[in-house]
Amino acid sequence: MSTRLILWAIAVLVLVALPPVMTAIGQTFYIDLVRRIMILAIAAVSLNLILGYGGMVSFGHAAYLGIGAYAVGVLGFYGVTSGWLQWATAIGASALVALAIGAVSIRTSGIYFIMITLAFTQMLYYLGISLEVFGGDDGMRLKSRSQFAGLVDLNDPIAFYYVALALMLLAVFFVYRLVNSRFGMVLRAAKSNEARARAIGFSPYPYRLAAFVIAGAMCGLAGALYANHTSYIVPGLMSWQQSGDIMFMVILGGMASTAGPVLGTFALLIVEEFLKGWTEHWQVILGPLLVLSVIFFRRGLAGMFYKPDA
């Protein structure tokens, strides 16, 4: 049994055991906190696929978080509360938008790619703000959580927790299998040395676009989960500050590693919670922490356990 597998098993056990333990000691707040962390970890895992393994610095990834959330919100607004339909729409809509944005953006590279993905996210953000019928800048309240008749009741916080945990582990496993498949190998090769990948005969564009769409769809699922978690949807979910947050979780955790995004999300959000409890002006401490971690933590947290992809 490799060390990595043992560490993962321990982590999963801790997460599985958390709700009963927390309920027993009366600290149910932490169940909500860890659930929120796990949902955002799914978003980070999806970004890691295109950023860490694919080398595409997308500053617009939060757009799909927003699309997924609004899919749930908008359908709920019009009375459609079936979880299957809502979440399928969240994933589908995110995939479609990712296809549209990716088809245009992936033709560029470097700073232009960053800027153009940023621009598209801003467009979606302004669209969200200007749609007064869905609350505009103030956002909209989710009247009821997604209904999965008979299967699971999301109103039960502990059941919802386990759904989030299961989906997070599924996402991690899926990305792990994907990047170690032939498809993933081409993607990583294109990131590592594009000229060489082309010389061997692979055109990076379709692989990158496919990865972009998959990442977008996964992030859309995270958005749907997030809408259910907060029961309130704001356009700020699609802002570039939110994109920056997710990017930071990926970088902090260690790019191009399986555990990286999860570690990064937990680390960042736990530090945030701790700082928030300490002072109202926690960002004045978080900002420099971010700067320092970028300057000194080159390989991220996961780099302390093993050597991630170059």
Partner: protein
Amino acid sequence: MPWTLVFEQLLNGVQLGVTLFLMAAGLTLVLGIMNLVNLAHGSLYMVGAYLTLAAAQWTGSYAAGVVLGLAGTLLIGMLVEVVTLRALYDRDHLDQVLATFGLILFFNELVAIVWGRASLYAQLPQFLRGHVELFSGSSYPMYRLAVILVGLLIAILLWYVVTQTRLGMLIRAGASNRTMVAALGVNIRLLYTVVFGFGAVLAGLAGLMAGPIYSVQPGMGELILIQVFVVIVIGGIGSVRGALVGALIVGIVDTLGRAFLKPMLGSMISPTAAEAAGPALASMLIYLLMAIVLALRPAGLFPARG
């Protein structure tokens, strides 16, 4: 279409363009010469506005406020460069983006701690208030005209420095091929510091001029920063000329779009639909413009690299 209204909005567009140019000139040089993506440029804009406001209130004189504000912004810019940005020159764009993102959080919160989160009101000095009659029937705020004039003066000054002086030659060479300039024996570190300082002062100037027009609040830098990046991408990275052309285009398109798109749409489709679609489309206009320019000229309108 009332032509005086169009002309006024056109002037407003030029005024926005000039503000964007001051920011874009510094940012495009830093990106072109130092290959540094500096998201914290917007924070220098904000710092300039706040410091000038505070200095003017403290000394009671607008002119003293401006001088102190600019000096303060320059100092803070230098400090940021020495403490954090030096470590980022050799890193890739992703690391720079994230580190400067952290700087943004820091500055926004710092400003909120010192001056609070509410937006502040920047006082105009007596000689800049009031309106000017441009031609019969139309009066335009004196202050906005002053902003346009100052901006154009700076543009001329920058043109002179970049094309007629040795420093300008070094700047153009550095934007075109950084390694070669270092290999030719130029003190590249000093050049970097000068360029960054330049950019910081321009950003501070943009901020203090924008204060009375927009609001002085934490996060004001980010609102304009995205537009500045659009300007740079449209104009071409590393090119001051591109920054000017891009800034004017973006400023005019954005202002005219916001002013006239909704009524124009309202005459074509139903007014209620235009009510929602108008502002949304107007906000998206400059990004569509950027996408079109990138599709036709992927390196921008006036790329500095050969």
